[in-house]
């Protein structure tokens, strides 16, 4: 590959445009007087440069639901969304609860090569919550994140053991916090709109009580806990208290849709808005945004959840929860955090690349944009506005909660160790 010169980029959106030279997969030069001999030149016109985005929480549906998404289509969506690494959740069919299963996902991701696919291992066998899966065997293949996401590790004894056991593996347990006894038959956030519309409630306390419990367990075990998709202001309060009281090893993520969308969307009964945890109130979303800005929430993770049409084109109660996220994540973060001044581009790099890479244990992602670092980066046009059309996305599924919305900022180019994986809306297979 000949060197690639990115002319006129603004790292972290700061300062005047500079030139960035990529050679042999690393950032070889960065500045105003860069040697361009033999390089392919690309005029970038002042695009913002960030380290490649890292998603700690994605559902690639393969194996088992290839009608909704495959590792290939999911990787394409990731690359188009600016993601150079994604963590693929274990609730596939069969469940990724053994070394063999996670190896398949890792290998497929590598073959496709559009984004680094890191499989997440299940905490319990079959996600049944009854006994630990072979975390050690999976860790030996490189798994650093374990999660039963989709369901909660509800049994406190199992969660305690998982946390303790993980301390020997350098891994983190990522919890989908939902006390199943409090959410039987639940359909939507237990608030005023759902109660008026006759949708069974999913109370915020079901999430908050599990997070409180798990923070105490993690503190006692000195273990790393990561809280998935925080959705309520109450959970933010719990996290803040826990950090202030010695739970230093607890991290947390928030989805873009929980930053923007609320339960006032329920009135149409359109199941595109059905997610787990549910969309909550305006004050909850505001608290999540403030917490992300302040670092109480460490990072953004998409919980990208593709679903086949028959799983969404039905009555609410029959629909599966979840919405797409990879190709809208950055734009929603710009809309909810950058535009109102809660976060600058450095902050975006922190919450969408550096912190997730750190939590996921990826030494070659979330690195600074500096000479000698891997050329794993994304170029963003901060000023363009575009309209979301689910049918145009690379995912097989089209269930985006932002359909028809006009959002700011667009990923123009994604580079993975020097190789362009997505460019101007096209996947570079």
């Amino acid at each position: 590959m000949s060197p690639l010169l990115l002319r006129g980029v603004r790292p972290y959106g700061e300062g005047d445009p500079v030139d960035l030279l990529v050679r042999d997969g690393v950032i070889a030069e960065l500045g105003t007087r860069v040697d361009t001999a033999g390089a392919t030149v690309r005029d970038c016109g002042g695009l913002v440069a960030l380290p490649g985005l890292v998603d700690l929480h994605t559902h690639l549906r393969e194996p088992g639901r290839e009608d909704a998404e495959t590792i290939a289509t999911g990787s394409a969506a990731a690359a188009l969304g600016g993601f150079t690494a994604v963590f693929a959740m274990a609730n596939t069919d069969p469940v990724a609860d053994t070394a063999v299963a996670v190896e398949h996902v890792r290998r497929r991701g590598r073959e496709i090569g559009l984004t680094d696919v890191h499989p997440v291992g299940a905490v319990t066998v079959g996600l049944a919550g009854e006994r630990l899966a072979e975390l050690g065997g999976m860790a030996r293949t490189g798994v650093t994140v374990f999660s039963d996401d989709g369901v909660c590790v509800a049994d406190p004894l199992i969660m305690r053991r998982a946390l303790e056991y993980s301390t020997a593996l350098g891994a983190v347990i990522a919890q989908h916090a939902e006390d199943p006894r409090l959410t039987v038959g639940a359909q939507a956030h237990e608030g005023e709109p759902a109660s008026r519309l006759g949708l069974a409630g999913w109370p915020a306390t079901a999430e908050e009580s599990i997070v409180a419990r798990d923070c105490m367990l993690a503190r006692a075990a000195g273990a790393r806990l990561h809280v998935c998709h925080v959705s309520s202001a109450g959970t933010v309060d719990v996290l803040r208290w826990a950090r202030e009281h010695g739970a230093a090893t607890v991290t947390a993520e928030v989805t873009p849709h929980h930053l923007l969308l609320t339960d006032d969307r329920l009135g149409t009964f359109d199941p595109v808005n059905k997610v787990n945890p549910p969309l909550r109130t305006g004050p909850d979303a505001a608290a999540l945004r403030a917490a992300l800005a302040a670092g109480v929430l460490d990072c953004v993770a998409t919980d990208h959840a593709p679903h086949a049409p028959q799983d969404k084109d039905c009555e609410w109660a029959a629909a599966r929860p979840g919405m797409l996220g990879l190709q809208t994540a950055l734009s929603v973060v710009v809309e909810t955090m950058v535009a109102p001044g809660l976060l600058d581009w450095r902050g975006v790099a922190r919450v969408m690349s550096e912190r997730p890479a750190d939590i996921g244990g990826l030494p070659d992602q979330g690195r600074p944009l500096a000479v000698g670092e891997p050329a794993t980066l994304v170029l963003v046009d901060p000023d363009v506005r575009w309209t979301v059309r689910g049918a145009a996305f690379a995912s097989l599924a089209g269930n985006t909660g932002f359909e028809g919305m006009e959002l700011p900022a667009r990923v123009m180019t994604t580079v993975l160790r020097g190789r362009v994986t997505a460019d101007d809306g096209k996947v570079m297979w």
Binding site: V184, G185, Q187, E190, G191, E192, P193, A194, S195, R196, L197, G198, L199, A200, G201, P203, T268, F269, Q310, D313, C314, E315, W316, A317, A318
Partner: protein, 318 residues
């Protein structure tokens, strides 16, 4: 009016027009040799009931037939639905077969709204010349607008007017579509609604509803112009809402002693079916104050009125 999906869609003039039409239809049918009106002859009405219900379905069937429409009943168990056909496909199939009106009862809240999206306004169905109307006969715990209308009609018969009257609704408000529709419609028509239930059976956010709320039935009765008892719906509960049937009946049941606390003029309503001895005692259910059979009778006329307003005229373009 294109569909009747929820009581929230009815403003006061429209609701009043429906109740007036029901009265006129009752009048028109009185004293006849031929107990039928020709107005909806040649129209096809399909009732699609995904939940068991003899009374509501029979009421709609009678209403349609008394207007000379052809009424076809589809029951979920006996149909393609049992083979896994989706609600959407079943709806489109019926619309394609020429149903002018689909009356849907379904266990999922919002099902009627989704049905209306699929067959009422979809460009595909309009292109094919289909223009089916949808009536919500009860969707999950969301709404049951024709029940609210027949309750309002019955209250109007008893009290003359609803404006300023205090109506007390007692029971499992949380799981009751009858309560939700009733609160909305009665408030629209100017009544003041008071809810009585144990705290566990009140929805979150009920304090933002246009109602007053209490847990003391005896205190509420002397102030009520009418009381509506709701069935305590065992099949919808996943447990833990109250300790025992005995305690519920003792604290929230309408016994003879409690019924005596009501003002003379106040009727007792119940959407049925009743659990005698639980929310209402047998004696009260059979007393002259109980207007339950009037509710059933009004139900047919109210449903005839709804069908008339949906199907008889040309649709107004808004």
């Amino acid at each position: 009016m294109r569909h009747l999906l929820s009581a929230a869609d009815l403003d006061a003039p429209t609701a009043t027009a429906l109740l007036d039409t029901a009265d006129r239809l009752k009048q028109a049918l009185a004293g006849r040799e031929v107990h039928k009106l020709p107005t909806l002859r040649g129209r096809t009405i399909v009732t699609m009931f995904y939940e068991n219900s003899t009374r509501t379905r029979a009421s709609f069937e009678v209403a349609g037939k008394w207007m000379s429409a052809d009424v076809i009943n589809v029951s979920a168990a006996a149909s393609a639905v049992a083979k896994g056909e989706s609600l959407r496909d079943t709806a489109l199939t019926l619309a394609a077969m020429g149903a002018d009106c689909v009356i849907l009862r379904h266990p999922a809240s919002g099902a009627a709204h989704r049905l209306a999206d699929w067959i009422g306004t979809e460009s595909a169905t309009l292109r094919a010349g289909l223009a089916a109307h949808v009536v919500n006969a009860g969707d999950g715990t969301h709404e049951h607008p024709t029940q609210a209308l027949l309750d309002a009609a019955t209250l109007r018969d008893s009290l003359g007017t609803l404006a300023g009257r205090r109506v007390t609704i007692v029971g499992d408000i949380l799981h009751s579509r009858v309560a939700r529709s009733g609160v909305t419609l009665l408030t629209t028509l100017g009544a003041r609604v008071h809810l009585v239930a144990p705290p566990t059976l009140l929805p979150t956010g009920v304090r933002s509803w246009p109602v007053t709320v209490g847990h003391d039935l005896e205190a509420a009765l002397p102030e009520s112009d009418a009381v509506m008892m709701l069935r305590v719906q065992a099949e919808r509960m996943h447990g833990g809402f109250f300790p025992s049937a005995r305690e519920y009946a003792r604290d929230y049941g309408l016994s003879e002693a409690r019924a005596a606390l009501l003002p003379e003029h106040a009727p007792v309503l119940h959407p049925g079916p009743m659990l005698r001895g639980m929310e209402i005692s047998s004696a009260v259910a059979d007393s002259p104050r109980a207007v339950i059979t009037d509710q059933v009778r009004n139900g047919v006329h109210v449903r005839m009125a709804v069908l008339y307003h949906l199907l008889a005229g040309v649709e107004e373009v808004t």
